[in-house]
Structures are given as structure tokens and as C-alpha cells.
């Protein structure tokens, strides 16, 4: 597809779905991108056990709570040690490209529901009540986009199949999964667009699909036998691909072009049972994603920050089935060439019974939204007041750690 055709489609898509809401979109803005820096947000669905991933081995109480853990953790700084399944990330840590924040959480409390917890993490509000009171569900990453100049549909990308609240909202963005194609002739695509013209949801999705399937396949849509072969390849990819690697690879490809912001999710963190085994698979996915991003981004890695965030941490005590149940405070992972790594940020609350949240969970000592806000300020130069009001309502950034170089 020629670049003018591609621009035209992106343009119509933006106009079709959100031009009214975003006065920044005009055809001429495509010449510029909002910044040279890149931000990737990885949502870790299921409640990652921060205490197992970044272990507070220097806290004398820790060992008493956790008797069945995977052995062979990697020392970070005497106080903390990294889960053995993340050993492949130690070179990144040593180069200062990997860091953590501990005892952090969203403002979500008490009911410990995955689904409310994830909604609040992605929506970025101060409470479920505030989210419910807001008109329409928008995500904090989308609200941040509304503050950037020169945003167009390819500036931000939701990668993968799940519906990310994080990027929903008024600012245009794209979403796509690697390995898809739209097997229609050009004429068929025109009919499709006409069929969808009165249905905004189908229309917007089809526009993106038409553009991206042509782009990611590098040109013309195949027809006849070729098309069937192409579809067979897609099926195979959906079955066999290492999902995390595919997501990271696709993200990096987009970031080499006009994309500056991307998000995807990795699941498998709900480790109620036999945690030494169940954690390993999820951590390997995360490790693969981060290493693939670094490799595939090449020189751009230096301008990139990656934030890995989860809806809540897990109980301090292991439960009766060598696992952990839903908790409160947890850990954030960050990586990239644009971050100041090799440190574990945060104020450690201690693990004695009276220091726990409700005698059960790691006490959160910082709002995880503050770290995301700080990263965006460092990368894109937002004002504190915009971040505290528009992006993360009721956030106080006063004590938010700065970790962008």
C-alpha cells in the first residue's frame, strides 16, 4: 500500500471515530510526532506476587512467611533478590536498564477483585466510585495522549487481542494483533466500509484492520490460493507463536515507525496454588517480552521506558496450598535505556504483623500511579498539574520517585 493511501485511511479513521473530541487531528499534523521518546506499558493480569518476584530477603520476617519458594534467587542489593526465573534479566539490571518499585499499589482497596482491580489500574482513577461517576470509561494512557501535540492514530498502539481500557478514550489509537490479515479484495474492502458506515464500532475496527493488515503483510492483499495459504499461516501463528515474543516484536516494529506509546498484557499471575511452578511460566513470558523489546528496538531502546504494572500484590503469608491469595501492596518493574535502573524504589513498610495492611498484605507506601506519572513527565514533559488532574485524578506527585534519565 502506498504511503498516501495509508495516510488517507488513518485520517478517515481518526475523523470517523474521534475528530470531534480531539481538535488536534488535522491532516497536516502527520508530519510530526509528539516526541522521540517511547513508552511501553505491560499490564500483568491476575495479581503479580511482588514479594516473590522482588524478594525482601533482608527483612528478617520474610523467610517465616514463605517456606515453599523457588530457590536460586539473584541478589540485587542485599535487601532484595530477584526471582530465579528472571535470571536472564540480570544483565539488564547490571547495566542500569532494569529497576523496581516496591510496596506500591493502585488506590484500590479491600474487595480484592481482579476485575475491579484491573479496571482501576487501567482507568487510573482514585477509586472505583470515581471511575463509575466518570462519563464513559477512559484509560489513563489515553488521557495522557489528549495532552500531547501531533497525536495521530498510530501514535499509540494497543497490541494483542484483549480490549485495553488503558488506551480507550477520546484520543485516537490503533489496536492490532500480530499475524492477522484481512482477506478481501480492494473492491470487497470498499463494500465493507459502506456496510459499516452507520455502525461506528465496526467501522473504526475495519478501518484499522484494512490499513494494518496491508501494512504488516507488506503490500497487496493476496487472492485465491495465496490467500488461503496466508490464512493457514495465520492459524499456525495463532497456535504456535510464543505470544509474549510476538507481542513484543510487533510492538518494536511499530515503534521503529511513528508509534511512541504501546501497551499489551501478559497473564498467568493468579498463583493461588503451587506457586513455584505457576510463577515460572508467567515470568518467562515477561522476561521474553523485555528481552525481545531490547533486541528488536536496537538503538531506540535508549529512548524507551517500559512499565510493568499489576492490579494488586498478594498475601504476605503463603496460603495452605503453596500459593498466595489476593492482596494489596506489590511491585512495579521498569526497564529500558531511558530509565535509571539498578535500584529498588519505594519506602519499605516492614513485614511484622502490625506493619501489614489488615494483618495480611504488604502495606502500600506509594501510589503506583505516581510512578507512571513521573515516567510520563520525564519522557514527554507533562506538567504536574495536568498529570494530577487530567491523567490521574486526585494524585499527589509530591513524593513520586523520578527514574527517567
Amino acid at each position: 500500500m502506498s504511503s498516501s493511501r495509508r495516510r488517507f485511511l488513518l485520517n478517515t479513521m481518526a475523523l470517523g471515530c474521534s475528530a470531534a473530541a480531539n481538535p488536534l487531528i488535522t491532516p497536516v499534523t502527520y508530519a510530526a510526532t509528539p516526541s522521540n521518546n517511547r513508552l511501553v506499558v505491560i499490564i500483568l493480569r491476575g495479581g503479580m506476587d511482588g514479594l516473590d518476584v522482588v524478594r525482601p530477603v533482608g527483612d528478617q520476617n520474610f523467610a517465616t512467611y514463605r517456606t515453599d519458594m523457588a530457590t536460586g534467587a539473584h541478589d540485587l542489593n542485599g535487601m532484595f533478590a530477584l526471582h530465579p526465573a528472571l535470571g536472564d534479566l540480570m544483565p539488564m539490571w547490571r547495566m542500569g536498564e532494569l529497576g523496581f518499585a516496591h510496596a506500591v499499589s493502585t488506590p484500590y482497596r479491600d474487595k480484592r477483585s481482579h476485575f475491579d482491580g484491573q479496571d482501576l489500574l487501567e482507568a487510573g482513577y482514585a477509586s472505583i466510585a470515581q471511575k463509575q461517576a466518570a462519563t464513559g470509561t477512559t484509560g489513563w494512557l489515553n488521557r495522557m495522549l489528549t495532552l500531547l501535540p501531533n497525536v495521530h492514530a498510530e501514535t499509540a498502539f494497543a497490541v494483542g487481542q484483549d480490549d485495553l481500557i488503558l488506551l480507550s478514550g477520546d484520543a485516537p489509537h490503533s489496536s492490532w494483533s500480530p499475524g492477522r490479515s484481512l482477506p478481501l479484495s480492494v473492491q470487497g474492502q470498499n463494500f465493507l466500509e459502506r456496510m459499516y458506515e452507520n455502525d461506528p464500532l465496526f467501522h473504526a475496527s475495519a478501518q484499522t484492520a484494512i490499513t494494518l493488515s496491508a501494512e504488516t503483510l507488506g503490500g497487496e492483499v493476496a487472492e485465491g490460493e495465496d490467500m488461503m495459504a496466508q490464512m493457514a499461516d495465520n492459524l499456525k501463528a495463532a497456535r504456535n507463536a510464543d505470544r509474549a515474543q510476538a507481542l513484543a516484536r510487533f510492538t518494536a516494529e511499530q515503534m521503529h515507525q511513528d508509534t511512541r506509546i504501546a501497551a499489551f498484557s501478559i497473564g498467568g499471575w493468579d498463583t493461588h496454588r503451587n506457586q513455584p511452578n505457576s510463577m515460572r511460566n508467567a515470568l518467562q513470558q515477561l522476561s521474553t517480552a523485555l528481552r525481545t523489546l531490547k533486541t528488536d528496538l536496537g538503538p531506540i531502546w535508549g529512548k524507551t521506558a517500559v512499565l510493568c504494572m499489576t492490579e494488586f500484590g498478594r498475601t504476605v503469608r503463603q496460603n495452605g496450598t503453596q500459593g498466595t491469595d489476593h492482596g494489596t501492596g506489590g511491585a512495579l518493574l521498569y526497564a529500558g535505556g531511558a530509565v535509571r535502573g539498578k535500584q529498588v524504589l519505594g519506602r519499605w513498610p516492614g513485614l511484622a504483623d502490625h506493619q501489614l495492611y489488615q494483618q495480611r498484605d504488604l502495606m502500600p507506601t506509594a501510589d503506583v500511579r505516581g510512578l507512571a506519572a513521573s515516567a510520563m513527565q520525564g519522557l514527554f514533559g507533562h506538567s504536574t498539574s495536568d498529570l494530577e488532574r487530567v491523567v490521574f485524578p486526585n494524585l499527589d506527585m509530591t513524593d513520586a520517585a523520578k527514574f527517567i534519565l
Partner: protein
């Protein structure tokens, strides 16, 4: 334009137009639930006993092989193939039931309740247990009292395994004191949050914890659920303001709690809202919700009466299209609309079924019986119609019309009526009659918003 009640009924309460299109009256839809469930004989699946037999045989052969029995090794390979085959046959039959049952509303309800009480096939064991779960805990009880359905679903081995209950031990129980094991609160939480009260319901973390204690003792045995008193936490539990249990733990205490739970007002609100959201829209009309919830409360959770309230409301046959068909609904409706006969379907090989049905569904965002979490598949349209999932639907539309030979034999103008009745928009009619070839014309009809919505 007002559409006919027949079309509305087929889209809202069934898997679209096609064979066995139900007559569009509330009485007919209710009668489907009273009728004998004969489609299960035409397309049988399997129960817990058969699943256990498969596991046991496999385990026996694995052990024999390890101790050096070479023949057992070969038999083990065969057992693995057998296990896979009974699962694949059952999966095909799940599709065939939905495609060919004269009681379309019953099939839709089975899938609704399976999704409400999600058990996800996240490992090999659960992959074998999902089918018995539908067959034993869900399907026979969708028209009884909610207490019955709740009890059957909660106490089925598949649920006990999926939400880790079968490993949870009372810390002060005989077994708990003897070894270093204890509570797992996974099932207790989802039972309140997802299955009954809803996340906005009136319960606390303490209720979750106390309930986790009450539920100890529930295990999976070779014959099904067993209650193991040595695992059960002794003493009473305070849950939702009432005291349950006693010094001698009994299964009856759990039944008593589930019975109370099913009757709570929060449960009535949550369950009826979920039904209305599934069949009507993400924001169902207030009067419909109020009518259904009060029917639930007054009848003590009699599901037939709740369905009756849903079907005899002024909204029952109102305009459709606020919801999007899930990939399963889309595929089943597509096959019905294409007029795939039961003989054709039954002759489809497992390999082709994977190629043309279950793998394409992955590209639409749904791995059959394997949602990501216990909240099941999403209801909102935007979750399904993402660019990549929509491309998956189109890809399947092109593929299936060709794989079934319909791209050679089916006139798109005829298909327009078969698939959409009186729903086709002007643009869809135009696309169907002007597309470059039959395959694309048929695929465009399957891709139309009217066909994807319900």
C-alpha cells in the same frame, strides 16, 4: 424499520435463522425448556466417570511404562489419543447441539450459565472436566431453582479443582494440624463476587475468609465430590451476618449457606441483571431489570419464572442489535445460515473441524472453553469487535464459505434471506449483489453488522 418477531426471536433467543427456527412466542420459548432434552441423545458427550476412567488408565500406563513395561508405553500413546478423541468428539457435539437443537433457547441458556459459572480448561485435567461440568452441573439444572444450579455448579469436581477448593484445608482440622497445609480462598471469593452477590454486593474480606473456612472439606474423589471431615475447619463461621457450622463440620452446613446465598437480594439483582445484559443490552431498561429482579425475589429464585418475566415484558421482542454475537454464537449462526446439514457436519473430520472452526475462533478472540479468568467471556461489544478480532471474523467468513462448497453452490441473494431474514440493510444488499464473486459476497453478508449483532 420494525423487524418480524420471528427474526428477533431467532437472533435474541437462539443461534439465528436456520433449521428449527422457534416460533416467536414466549409460550414456545418456555415450552422448549419443558420439552425433553433429546438432542443430547443424538449428540452425546461424557460425564465425570468417563473422565476419571481416562485419567486412571493414563496414570496406570504411565506408571507401568516407568517400571519398564515397553508395551505399556505404546498403550499409553494410544490412551493419549483416546483421551484427545473423546474430547474432540464432545466438542463437535457441543457445536452440533447448538446448530441442530429444536430448543434453541435452551442451548443459549446452557452457554450463558456455563459462562456465569466459568470453569476454564487451563490444564489437561480441566480440559477433560469442562464437558462433564456442563453435562452434569449446568445443563440439567438451567430451568430449576437458582439454589439448585448454584449448588450443583459449586460442588462439581470441575469447579472445586478450577478454583482450588479441592486443595484447601482447614488450618485447625485434623489434616491441617497434621501437615503444613491450610486455606485457599479462591472459590470463596468468586462464589460471592462472580456467582452470586456481585462485586458491589454487601460482603467483606472477612466474609470471604469465613466462607473459605466453611468450604473446607470439599474435595474431588474418584466418584465425584466428596466431603472429607478431616479436612474441614471445626467451629462456627460468621458469614453475611449469620452463623454457620458447628463443632462437627457437615456438608449440610454448606448446603444451608448456598441456599441462603441464592435467596439474597443482592443475588437476585446480580443474576437477573446478568441475564438481561446477555439477552438485551449492556444497559438494559430499568423496568425490565426491576421486573426480573422482583420475580426472582418473590419466587425464591425460580429460574422458569425469571425467564418468563424476561419473555413477557414489553421489551421481550423489542429491536435487536445492541449486543454482538460471541465468536461461538457467530460461528454456530453462520453454519446454520449457510444451511450446513447435519450429515455434512457429522462427516467433517476432526482435523477439518480444527482447521475450519476452532482455530479460526482463536483469531476472533475465543478459545473454546478457555476464557482467561473466572469472570468468563466478556459481554460488551467493544471487547469482541477489535480490529484484529474483526479481521478474524472476516477471515473465517471467507474460509468457511469455500471449505463447505457454498462459494460454488449458494446464491448470495438467497443467502441474504437465509442469514438475515428481513434485517439486511440497503448497503448489505448492495454489497451482496455487487461483490466480485460469490465467495466474497457470502463473506460480506457474514461480515455485516446485522449478522454480527443480536
Amino acid at each position: 424499520m420494525a423487524h418480524s418477531p420471528e427474526t428477533i426471536s431467532a437472533f435474541r433467543y437462539g443461534f439465528g435463522l436456520g433449521q428449527h427456527q422457534p416460533t416467536a412466542t414466549p409460550e414456545n420459548l418456555i415450552a422448549q425448556l419443558h420439552a425433553a432434552d433429546t438432542i443430547t441423545q443424538a449428540y452425546p458427550t461424557f460425564g465425570f466417570d468417563a473422565a476419571v476412567a481416562q485419567f486412571s488408565e493414563f496414570a496406570r500406563l504411565t506408571k507401568a511404562e516407568k517400571s519398564g513395561d515397553a508395551q505399556a508405553g505404546q498403550q499409553r500413546q494410544q490412551a493419549r489419543k483416546d483421551m484427545r478423541k473423546i474430547q474432540e468428539d464432545a466438542l463437535r457435539h457441543v457445536f452440533f447441539r447448538a446448530m441442530y437443537s429444536p430448543n434453541q433457547f435452551r442451548e443459549r441458556l446452557v452457554h450463558f450459565w456455563l459462562n456465569h459459572f466459568t470453569v476454564s480448561a487451563k490444564n489437561a485435567r480441566l480440559s477433560l472436566l469442562v464437558i462433564p461440568f456442563v453435562e452434569e452441573a449446568i445443563r440439567p439444572h438451567i430451568a430449576s431453582n437458582f439454589t439448585t444450579l448454584l449448588t450443583q455448579a459449586t460442588l462439581h469436581p470441575a469447579m472445586l479443582d478450577y478454583l482450588d477448593q479441592s486443595a484447601s484445608i482447614g488450618p485447625n482440622s485434623i489434616a491441617g494440624r497434621r501437615r503444613d497445609r491450610g486455606l485457599n480462598e479462591n472459590l470463596a471469593r468468586e462464589l460471592l463476587e462472580l456467582h452470586t452477590l456481585g462485586v458491589n454486593g454487601a460482603y467483606t474480606q472477612t466474609d470471604v475468609r469465613q466462607l473459605a473456612e466453611l468450604l473446607t472439606g470439599l474435595r474431588t474423589g474418584r466418584q465425584g465430590m466428596i466431603y472429607q471431615r478431616q479436612w474441614a475447619e471445626p467451629g462456627t463461621e460468621q458469614i453475611l451476618g449469620k452463623t454457620y457450622g458447628g463443632d462437627r463440620p457437615q456438608l449440610a452446613h454448606i448446603h444451608e449457606f448456598l441456599d441462603d446465598l441464592a435467596r439474597r437480594a443482592d443475588t437476585a439483582t446480580h443474576i437477573t441483571r446478568k441475564l438481561a445484559v446477555h439477552f438485551f443490552s449492556d444497559n438494559p431498561p430499568q423496568d425490565l431489570l426491576a421486573h426480573m429482579a422482583s420475580t426472582y425475589r418473590v419466587s425464591g429464585g425460580d429460574l422458569m419464572q425469571v425467564y418468563g418475566a424476561m419473555l413477557t415484558n414489553k421489551h421481550s421482542f423489542s429491536a435487536i442489535g445492541a449486543k454482538v454475537r460471541t465468536p461461538f454464537e457467530y460461528v454456530v449462526s453462520g453454519l446454520r445460515a449457510l444451511g450446513i446439514t447435519s450429515t455434512e457436519a457429522e462427516n467433517y473430520s476432526s482435523r477439518h473441524f480444527r482447521r475450519d472452526i476452532t482455530l479460526p475462533m482463536r483469531l476472533m478472540g475465543q478459545v473454546m472453553f478457555r476464557p482467561a479468568g473466572p469472570d468468563g467471556w466478556p459481554e460488551d461489544a467493544s471487547a469482541w469487535i477489535t480490529p484484529s478480532n474483526l479481521a478474524g471474523r472476516l477471515q473465517w467468513a471467507m474460509q468457511i464459505t469455500r471449505a463447505t462448497g457454498r462459494s460454488q453452490s449458494l446464491d448470495p441473494r438467497l443467502f441474504l434471506t437465509q442469514a438475515l431474514g428481513d434485517l439486511a440493510s440497503k448497503q448489505t444488499r448492495f454489497a451482496a449483489s455487487n461483490a466480485a464473486n460469490r465467495q466474497e459476497a457470502l463473506a460480506l453478508i457474514l461480515a455485516s453488522p446485522e449478522f454480527n449483532r443480536r
